[in-house]
């Protein structure tokens, strides 16, 4: 009732009087104001939707080979038909259906890769940031040095040794990407640990666990979610790259990288085979980058003002 009579200033997510519904509505308004963020969210949800509902959306079985329909161009060009909207590949498989199913590989790698990297990195970074001193300097130096190595080269090298499987790809990205999360977590923990509100909580006699879980963790979430979005986008990118070199999931699995690799051999004669999977990668990557930019602005109010 009181909220109707006394309007509140609408610029803080941290206003404790707000309910969760208020906060969600507030985020929704911010999102509506940022058209790039809206587009990013839409593209991201589109990809998630096609991954989840692939069997219901895809017009064909992605593995079904119909030789008499092979090398069919997309529907709008001469010789194409709406039976296969984006055409077929050299084995007569429907490209549109394969792209829809391919989103499952990309999102699985991106999601679990980030989950593993984020968990590992957060633990390492939090230890470094919270303990400080010698432990911190050893961890920080190691992380910085590891991050200076040519990343892609080592991913390719390790993938070549372990062979093609979804689990291997997830583990490779999950482990090699952990240092970035460690670096960001450490920086944030250091900043928060020195802040006034942690000091006052400590003075008020808050326990160690309470400081970590009630004061440090909630403030870490923002930067880490933003980083996770960008890293997930990067992993989807790199997975496609590995697939392109024939080092990601087995060739029988429909994935965007595998499709690019297969299409590359017929680039000049049947260009559509390699073109459309690339569009799918671009849409996903664009969506996640826009979403990440927006999250960074929203979750960090200081940046929000600078951007305007």
């Amino acid at each position: 009732m009181a909220s109707e009579t006394s309007p509140r200033p609408a610029d803080s997510l941290l206003d404790i009087q707000r309910t969760w519904w208020d906060r969600l509505a507030f985020i929704g308004r911010l999102l509506w104001r940022d058209k790039g963020g809206m587009l990013g969210l839409f593209l991201f949800l589109l990809v998630v939707f096609s991954a989840v509902f692939a069997p219901w959306i895809a017009p064909h079985d992605p593995l079904e080979q119909v030789m008499e329909d092979s090398k069919m161009p997309p529907a709008w060009s001469v010789g194409g038909s709406w039976e296969h909207p984006l055409g077929t590949d050299t084995l007569g498989r429907d490209i549109f259906s394969r792209i829809i199913y391919g989103s499952r590989v990309s999102l699985t790698v991106g999601f679990f890769g980030v989950l593993i990297a984020g968990t590992l990195g957060m633990i390492i970074g939090a230890i470094a940031g919270y303990l400080g001193g010698r432990v911190d300097s050893v961890i920080t130096n190691t992380v910085n040095l590891v991050l200076s190595l040519p990343y892609l080269l080592f991913v390719v090298f390790i993938a070549a040794i372990f062979g093609r499987s979804l689990l291997n790809v997830i583990l490779i990205f999950g482990i090699t990407d952990a240092p970035i999360f460690a670096r960001v977590t450490r920086g944030e923990v250091l900043k928060i640990r020195e802040s006034g509100y942690v000091e006052s909580a400590r003075c008020a006699g808050a326990s160690w666990a309470r400081i970590v879980f009630d004061h440090i963790m909630p403030n870490l979430i923002g930067p880490l979610i933003t980083l996770a979005t960008f890293e997930m986008s990067a992993m989807i990118f790199y997975e496609a790259g590995l697939g392109f070199l024939g080092l990601s999931v087995p060739p029988s699995v429909p994935s965007w990288g595998n499709m690019l690799a297969a299409g590359r051999q017929y680039l000049t004669s049947y260009p559509w085979i390699a073109t459309f999977p690339g569009v799918a990668i671009m849409i996903t990557s664009l969506g996640m980058n826009l979403l990440g930019d927006w999250l960074r602005d929203v979750l960090d109010p200081r940046l929000r003002r600078a951007r305007k």
């Binding site: 040095l145 590891v146 190595l149 390719v156 260009p271 690339g278 671009m282 664009l286």
Partner: protein, 306 residues
């Protein structure tokens, strides 16, 4: 300064040792390096003979000491495919990769810095929209895919540039462009945000109130201060480009280290793969060391931190 240099040198050497250990362990972590390097249809006797020849049947510590002592003089064994020293094969390919990476970087800097600066100086303007679009494109377009489209359009249809190989003067244009594209995106983004920050610093306001001409302020006060983070990113990115040109070199059949790596993986020629990984890492580590030293000379705050 000397102390800083020695600490950085020590770190680089430690990292080099880490790389050697990592590569050594990775080749043995699946259990049997002989099975990894030989074709699947190899007989038991062939595998045994191969183990004997490569020394895989010795104790692991002995193997590592042997590996290290040869590594310090640049000996990484013979390529299984070519039957010549792996290191020679790699260094022969270095000039092509450096040419590609340097051209790509030049393109990224020449386009990225001015556009990023225009965006940062006038946020919200048309130039700024262009800068933000370019940054986003650089991040989102898969460059190995764009490479294929460019081959189709500029190579096959318009016949402006050769579609593969390193020969005519213009053969470097397309591969360098696509290799530099993600880096350009990053440079635009970084320049824009740095300039945006510096623009509202006190010394810039002072410069304006002294009545200096805007171009002088842009170049002498803003660009000069913005150049410090940009230089450090350029150093790091050049290293990434040397190691990350594998897709682009493969697509354009550019005879550099990246293409050799892709071929060596196909042949399961792991001594060669190992030589490429270690050599590229060494170059990148050396470059990073050099960047940090240049950085410390430009910006005294860094060396006094030690």
């Amino acid at each position: 300064m000397l102390r800083y240099f020695l600490i950085r040198l020590g770190q680089s050497l430690a990292l080099m040792f880490g790389v050697l250990l990592l590569v050594f362990m990775m080749l043995r972590v699946t259990g049997d390096p002989a099975a990894l390097m030989l074709p699947r249809e190899a007989s038991a006797a062939e595998i045994e003979a191969f183990r004997e020849r490569m020394g895989f049947n010795r104790p692991i510590i002995v193997q590592f000491v042997d590996f290290l002592s040869k590594a310090v003089v640049g000996d990484f064994g013979e390529s299984l495919h070519f039957r010549t020293p792996a290191m020679t094969l790699v260094t022969q390919r270095l000039p092509a990769t450096v040419e590609l990476a340097a051209t790509g970087l030049l393109f990224a800097v020449l386009i990225g810095v001015p556009i990023g600066m225009m965006g940062g100086l006038k946020p919200g303007s048309a130039a700024d929209s262009l800068a933000r679009l370019l940054a986003l494109m650089g991040q989102s377009i898969p460059n190995f895919w764009l490479a294929m489209l460019m081959i189709l359009f500029f190579g096959v249809q318009l016949r402006w540039f050769p579609t593969f190989g390193r020969g005519a003067w213009n053969s470097v244009v397309m591969p360098a462009f696509v290799l530099g594209l993600p880096v350009m995106g990053q440079i635009v983004r970084l320049t824009r945000s740095t300039v945006l920050e510096i623009r509202s610093e006190d010394f810039v306001r002072t410069a304006y109130s002294k009545g200096l001409e805007p171009p002088v302020i842009y170049l002498k006060h803003i660009l000069r201060n913005a150049s410090i983070p940009i230089i450090s990113v350029i150093g790091v990115q050049f290293g990434y480009m040397l190691g990350g040109s594998i897709y682009i070199e493969t697509i354009f059949a550019w005879p550099g280290m990246g293409q050799l790596l892709q071929l060596a993986i196909g042949w399961r020629d792991f001594p060669l793969v190992q030589a490429i990984a270690i050599f590229t890492s060494t170059v990148v580590i050396a470059l990073n060391l050099l960047t940090d030293l240049v950085y410390a000379i430009i910006d005294p705050r860094i060396r006094y931190g030690f």
